[in-house]
């Protein structure tokens, strides 16, 4: 089955699912694995209700979505499941386009592999379930993929605008700014096997950075005009100050429930800076392949982000489909997969043990989220290793025995 038939099939399946009201789906909306306080559908609806009744939705500390959602869902269209399905489809399409740009295959060609790339996005349970739960993380992921798509296709303005939007939806995406700028001035084609020094034009890069800041400020200004600047406090700063400690599969919430108040600011700073630390090393080591660098940073976000949902590691896993050239060099793909399966099963079970059955406690769920963190870490480390290892290439049979390995 090639992409020309598989992709429409998946799309129609996804649309069908959005149209059928299933009993099971309504239960997903309150699942802590699938939506966080920043992305939850019930909070979105509450915000919309407050907004339509002329009450400041940001005043109560319940609504933390971007004002963009307020404006779209209160004027253009109501928050129907079909919007999430469409966003998913756009995301899959963007992933397909990135893949085509990287493999340098034209539209329509690419055959079976292209269909599999779309399937890797649309059938990934980590992305599929949050989307069914109507979590706003679906839109965040689509925005990230659109950014990378435009950047891969060499459309700087569109890419930077998309990046401004995705940063607006989730401030942590700012991590991707540097690799996206690098991608804009280089090519998306795989350079992993033949690393070269970064040859992009620094001046153009700075110009693009300025353009991004301009877009971002315009979005900020527009949002402030709409709801006043309280929203910055409620939605932007939430990722940095962690006001809502609702459990999620990430690593932040438990740490900060246990924290004495006077240490809080310090550790908030440590956790936030920790995320930023990864940008430079990854971008320097993978300066020859900026798309791979952004892939790794998406993986980092999928482990260490504040208010993590399953959609974040899901994006990383789906993006693996873009880099088939590294598969032979992965060291332990099956072990990573198994740890992911364990984590994906443990999270809902331990959540139920703690919250529903009352025979476990928060430590159980946190232990499961640590397993999730380990699974994510193994994926990133392995991807990093394989991305570097590929440059060495295969060793000829005869040569292997008298080969002294000197790494570092």
């Amino acid at each position: 089955m090639d992409s020309t038939s598989l992709f429409p099939l998946l799309v129609s399946f996804r649309l069908l699912l959005a149209c059928i009201p299933l009993h099971l789906i309504s239960g997903l909306q309150h699942d802590h694995q699938l939506s966080s306080p920043l992305t939850s559908y019930s909070r979105l609806k509450e915000g919309l209700w407050l907004y339509s009744h002329n009450i400041d939705p940001y005043a109560g500390g319940v609504f933390r979505h971007s004002p963009l959602f307020l404006s779209i869902f209160s004027t253009l269209l109501p928050p129907l499941p079909i919007v999430w399905a469409l966003s998913d489809i756009v995301g899959a399409w963007a992933l397909l386009r990135i893949w085509r740009a990287r493999q340098r295959v034209g539209k329509g060609s690419g055959g079976r592999a292209g269909g599999l790339v779309a399937a890797a996005f649309l059938l990934n349970p980590y992305l599929f379930l949050p989307s069914l739960a109507l979590s706003a993380s679906t839109f965040e992921n689509t925005a990230v993929l659109l950014t990378l798509m435009f950047a891969s296709e060499g459309k700087p303005s569109a890419a930077l605008l998309a990046l401004a939007f995705s940063t607006h939806l989730c401030i942590s995406t700012l991590l991707l700014l540097l690799p996206v700028l690098m991608l804009l001035v280089t090519s998306p084609v795989s350079q992993l096997a033949s690393p070269q020094e970064f040859r992009g034009d620094l001046r153009t890069t700075c110009k693009y950075a300025g353009q991004f800041v301009a877009y971002w400020l315009v979005l900020l200004g527009a949002s402030s005009l709409m709801v006043g600047d309280v929203y910055c406090e409620q939605s932007y700063r939430a990722s940095l100050t962690l006001p809502d400690l609702t459990p999620n599969p990430g690593l932040w919430w438990y740490f900060f429930t246990e924290m004495f108040d006077h240490f809080r600011p310090f550790f908030l700073m440590v956790f936030s800076v920790h995320l930023v630390i990864y940008i430079l090393p990854i971008c320097i080591k993978f300066q020859h392949d900026a798309l791979y660098a952004s892939f790794l940073l998406v993986g980092i976000l999928g482990i260490f982000k504040a208010y993590l949902t399953l959609a974040d590691p899901g994006l990383f896993l789906s993006m693996f489909a873009l880099f088939p050239e590294v598969y032979p060099y992965l060291r332990h793909p099956i072990v990573t997969t198994l740890v992911h399966i364990h984590a994906a099963l443990l999270l809902p079970l331990f959540h139920a043990l703690w919250v529903t059955e009352g025979r476990g406690n928060a430590n159980f769920y946190y232990a499961a989220s640590l397993v999730m963190g380990v699974a994510g870490g193994m994926g990133v480390v392995d991807a990093c290793y394989a991305g570097l290892r590929i440059a060495f290439g295969d060793v000829a049979e005869g040569e292997r025995n008298n080969w002294a390995v000197v790494q570092e």
Partner: protein, 650 residues
């Protein structure tokens, strides 16, 4: 130890080499490691009843203060209970309808001055509709706004002993209602529930109380409600008198109540009423009749106190596993567990004496006083335990590793298969072309000659997509089988339908095998990859279930462990007769896998009960067996069949 550090820069080489050697060592001894892990796991499981693994129970929650109060339940109240019993016996002898019974009980509650009501319910199940009427009453707490509550319940029927009606239990509850009302010390509302039938009455009441009415239950919300229920005691007193008090504690889907509740009851029953507490209806060691396994054993074994102790504990553990693994509530209290309520059943073990209403009333009164002391839900003691005797228990650390060790053995062996699938051995000379076929397990004869040549290993591709598809298909077949079993027409013609389904499902692996594309010669064989995935998946299932429901995980470890690890060996034609494969032996292995996978279909009562439990109570056991357990074994059977095929095709 010869440390060779000739030059500084060789440190990395040494490190890498050491790592490589360690990996090679593990891989070389993989079968030994797996065997050792399996043996340890199974041995540990059989040693669960030995006394050194258990420890004494203790009260962990200081607020409970069990058996520290003077009880006021007196002969006057016993007389009241006798009067109620007399009326109830009249109703039983008249074959009174549910409605008559419920209205009698409601009226009695109302006469005592409590707010009382009844609840009609109907469960629609594939086999039949179950209707009934519950009666309940609420004693509002004189001291608090009634944000918390304790439940005392009794069902109309009893299923443990010989006597089918739980009349004395109900009489106790009504008499207690009248008695407890006279005291102003209750800090929680007390709810009295008399459930119709055995399990479904209480289940319908609980669902209506919590507003979680499932689609197949037809009932209204309750007229009277109270606060959050923290604890519940269910009374089962069906005999004439009792000698011991038995405690039942397993809940729905294997949830156990907080151990403090059981420990408090044990102390109260011992110190307040002088009634010994036992587990289930298993009498104590020295009181138990000699109907044990040891009766046919030689005299010296029969006398051995250690063996008798072991046997006694093993009986308790076995009973526990039989309830917990099937997710079945051991008595009506188990239904409360779904709603995060710690509940137990007090079972008065029928005997000629010496105890009756007097002792039971005092025990319940004192237990209620203990529960009344709680300022927060029971949380301190243990939720994961095995009670080996009423006074000793096992912590999770002393039994969980047994199942996890088996799971680790399975995942190791699965990963070993994965590595094996990734490489093909190539002999460097043309002398031994057939050495390739044996998947690196060259027969002894070939090894001798190959050993002189340097064998080289070449990586090969591992096509995973057909394997993943096969796994998904088997689980879908399991789902289909469950959907078929869960219909009324299956349950009505159960015997015929079981046989048809059994034979149809037995043919599925054969049918699947014909559609699986044969692998290109340069890629890994299908059977190896399928076995690898099968083992990893089964191991994941076992290790994850082990915390939720240890009994189920242990059962899975026993039934899946060896059949899955050895599936490629059992089906392999014996090496001595390489030309023909051994027909009768193959058939026997085939039949054994088939019976292990779907043989339970031929236990009509078990199947019916499991389906009923799923439909009415929401016990996950039936779907779990169909969708997880059976497909895993089906995959193992498929591994065996494809091994056979691959051998035949050369």
């Amino acid at each position: 130890m010869d440390r060779i550090w000739p030059r500084r820069q060789n440190g990395n080489v040494v490190r890498l080499r050491r790592r490589k050697n360690a990996t090679a060592l593990i891989y070389r001894n993989l079968s030994k490691i797996t065997t050792a892990l399996l043996a340890t796991g199974y041995l540990w499981m059989t040693l669960i009843p030995i006394p050194p693994l258990s420890q004494g129970v203790y009260i962990d929650e200081n607020a409970l203060q069990p058996a520290q109060v003077n009880t006021n339940w007196n002969w006057q109240d016993v007389h009241q209970a006798d009067l109620y019993l007399h009326h109830l016996e009249g109703l039983r002898d008249k074959n009174a309808t549910s409605e008559q019974r419920a209205s009698f009980i409601r009226d009695e509650f109302a006469k005592l001055g409590l707010s009382a009501a009844t609840q009609n319910y109907t469960f629609m199940t594939p086999s039949s509709n179950i209707t009934g009427i519950n009666a309940y009453a609420i004693l509002n707490s004189p001291r608090t706004p009634g944000s918390e509550a304790i439940v005392i319940s009794a069902s109309w029927l009893s299923e443990v002993g010989k006597e089918p009606y739980n009349l004395r239990g109900i009489a106790t509850v009504i008499a207690l209602a009248g008695f407890l009302k006279n005291y102003s010390l209750w800090a929680k509302d007390i709810i009295f529930v008399i459930g119709d039938n055995y399990l479904d009455g209480i289940h319908a009441w609980l669902n209506a109380y919590h507003g979680t009415i499932p689609q197949n239950l037809d009932t209204d919300l309750l007229e009277l409600t109270s606060g959050v229920i923290w604890n519940a005691l269910n009374v089962d007193y069906s005999g004439h008198s009792f000698s011991h008090l038995g405690v039942f504690f397993e809940g729905l889907n294997g949830r156990l109540p907080n151990q403090d509740l059981i420990n408090s009851l044990r102390l109260i029953s011992h110190y307040t009423a002088g009634v010994p507490l036992v587990l289930y209806d298993h009498l104590e060691l020295h009181d138990a009749p000699q109907n044990s396994l040891l009766t046919s054993a030689p005299e010296f074994m029969k006398r051995s106190p250690q063996l008798r102790e072991f046997e006694h504990r093993a009986r308790n553990v076995k009973r526990h596993v039989s309830y917990q693994a099937r997710g079945r509530p051991s008595a009506p209290h188990g239904l409360f567990h779904r709603f995060r309520i710690d509940a137990i059943t007090l079972y008065a073990i029928p005997a000629d004496g010496p105890h009756g209403f007097f002792a039971l009333g005092r025990i319940i009164e004192s237990t209620l006083r203990t529960s009344n002391n709680l300022l927060e839900r029971l949380h301190a003691s243990f939720f994961f335990y095995i009670l080996t005797t009423p006074a000793t228990f096992m912590k999770i650390g002393t039994f969980l590793p047994s199942a996890v060790l088996v799971a680790v053995a399975m995942i190791f062996s699965g990963l070993g298969r994965w590595v094996e699938a990734g490489w093909v051995q190539e002999s460097s000379s043309e002398l031994q072309p057939q050495g390739k076929e044996d998947d690196g397990k060259a027969a002894n004869a070939t090894i001798a000659t190959v050993a002189t040549l340097q064998p080289t290993w070449r990586p090969r591709q591992r096509p995973v997509i057909p394997v993943i598809t096969t796994i998904c298909v088997t689980h879908c077949i399991g789902l289909l089988a469950f959907a078929m079993i869960d219909t009324s027409c299956f349950l009505q013609n159960q015997v015929v339908a079981s046989w048809i389904l059994l034979i149809a499902l037995g043919l599925v692996p054969q049918a699947l095998l014909t559609i699986i594309p044969s692998h290109p010669p340069e890629t890994a064989p299908f059977s190896l990859l399928l076995q690898s995935f099968n083992l990893c998946l089964a191991s994941t299932v076992i290790s994850i279930t082990s915390l939720l429901n240890f009994s189920l995980a242990a059962t899975l470890a026993v039934t899946l462990g060896i059949p899955l690890i050895c599936s490629h060996v059992f089906f392999r034609p014996s090496q001595t007769s390489t030309s023909h494969f051994n027909k009768p032996c193959q058939l026997a292995v085939h039949a054994a896998y088939w019976v292990l996978t779907w043989g339970w279909l031929l236990l009509p009562q078990e199947v019916e009960k499991a389906v009923w439990n799923w439909e009415v109570l929401g016990v996950w056991f039936a779907p779990f067996v169909c969708i997880v357990y059976a497909p895993l074994l089906m995959q193992a059977g498929l591994v065996g069949l494809s091994v056979m095929n691959e051998m035949l095709l050369g």
